[in-house]
């Protein structure tokens, strides 16, 4: 029936799209309100559930390093750092730092990530040399995002209000007190804590991030 309907046929009346449209625009006369409601609820749960499931699925480290671009470069570097291995055994994985926790910001970031799919298809960073060439640009993007949001993702765990400066090492304590007073944000000092910095990273931060957004 459907493959006949797909091709408009004068003998059989209107085409498939037209018939679906007509069906949707008219009140359901032969189905009970209860059944309609039940179908609505089931379909709703299925839709919302699968939406949330895919949001969570794409928010795992396993998914992030499914691409060798991530696994061979940034992930490999991250495994050498404190956010991967440390005394207390608390680990921050890719999405903890790179995907916002709040729903609206999270969805915005997920939509932005479609650009990453496009570049994956283009193969923009599919070799270590290409990645290295782009690294400063990519890092600057992340720095800028963190600067604009006052390092929101860092602060999911590291909050000035819950920091005891007295317990910190003298140098850290002094620097954090000053930073707090000056209204600085985490990324202003802590660049390259989980991934290697490219050449001229420090100059680039001053020029393209501090100078623009301070």
């Amino acid at each position: 029936m459907s493959n006949q309907g797909a091709i408009p046929n004068k003998d059989q009346g209107p085409g498939l799209i037209k018939r679906i449209w007509r069906f949707l625009r008219h009140p359901a006369a032969t189905i009970s309100a209860g059944a309609l409601l039940l179908i609505g609820v089931v379909v709703g749960v299925a839709f919302w559930g699968s939406f949330n499931w895919s949001m969570e699925m794409t928010n795992t480290e396993e998914f992030c390093i499914g691409c060798h671009e991530m696994e061979a470069n940034v992930y490999a570097e991250y495994t050498e750092t404190a956010h991967y291995n440390n005394a207390s055994g608390v680990r921050a994985t890719c999405p903890d730092c790179h995907v916002p926790k709040e729903w609206v910001h999270k969805v915005v970031r997920k939509v932005q990530a479609t650009r990453e799919l496009y570049h994956k298809a283009l193969g923009s960073i599919d070799s270590p040399a290409k990645f290295e060439e782009k690294r400063l640009e990519l890092a600057t993007n992340v720095w800028t995002a963190m600067k604009k949001t006052d390092s929101r993702e860092c602060r999911n765990c590291h909050e000035f209000d819950s920091m005891d400066f007295v317990l910190q090492e003298g140098r850290a304590s002094a620097a954090h007190s000053d930073a707090f007073k000056e209204g600085k944000t985490c990324i202003d000092c802590h660049q390259g804590i989980a991934h290697s910095l490219p050449a001229n990273a420090l100059e680039a931060y001053k020029e393209k991030v501090s100078a623009v957004y301070d």
Binding site: E169, C189, S196, L197, P198, A201, L202
Partner: protein
């Protein structure tokens, strides 16, 4: 087991009650702070001493100064030298860190540069942090410093 009026307990409770009243009276006269200052005044405390974080004297005149902090998290490679974020002459004031010796800004021909000389790039070749650890081999070094 003895039963009857627990006089001991009653006495203790009475004494505690009385002292409680006394404490209340003291309260009425004004709060006596154990901190020694008003609650809205900041109290400055000594930083917690950590042995590795104090500057170490040199043991011979040409000794590269030791690093009084951890260095493993700082990237020092062909691309970046994170020591310079604090210790380069351009940043040291703001970061309240000691500046590199000016000898480190002269290249091998003696020309003065604004950036650290390439020959001095890898700080940890000479400057190292110290930990309180048993030496692996016996150390027979006698310092030339006279303290």
């Amino acid at each position: 087991m003895k039963t009857g009026v627990p006089w001991k307990a009653i006495t203790i409770m009475a004494v505690l009650n009385l002292t409680g009243f006394a404490a209340l009276n003291a309260h009425a006269e004004g709060v006596k702070s154990l901190r020694g200052v008003q609650v809205d005044e900041p109290v400055f405390v000594e930083p917690i001493a950590r042995p590795q974080n104090t500057r170490v004297n040199r043991e011979f005149r040409q000794q590269p100064p030791l690093v009084p902090h951890k260095t493993e998290a700082y990237q020092v490679d062909l691309k970046v030298n994170q020591c310079l974020t604090c210790h380069d002459w351009a940043n040291a004031g703001e970061k309240k860190a000691p500046t590199l010796s000016m000898t480190h800004y002269a290249d091998r021909e003696g020309r003065q540069l604004d950036q650290v000389a390439g020959t001095r790039w890898f700080c940890t070749q000479c400057h190292v942090p110290q930990v309180e650890a048993e030496p692996l081999v016996e150390n027979e070094f006698t310092p030339s410093s006279k303290r």
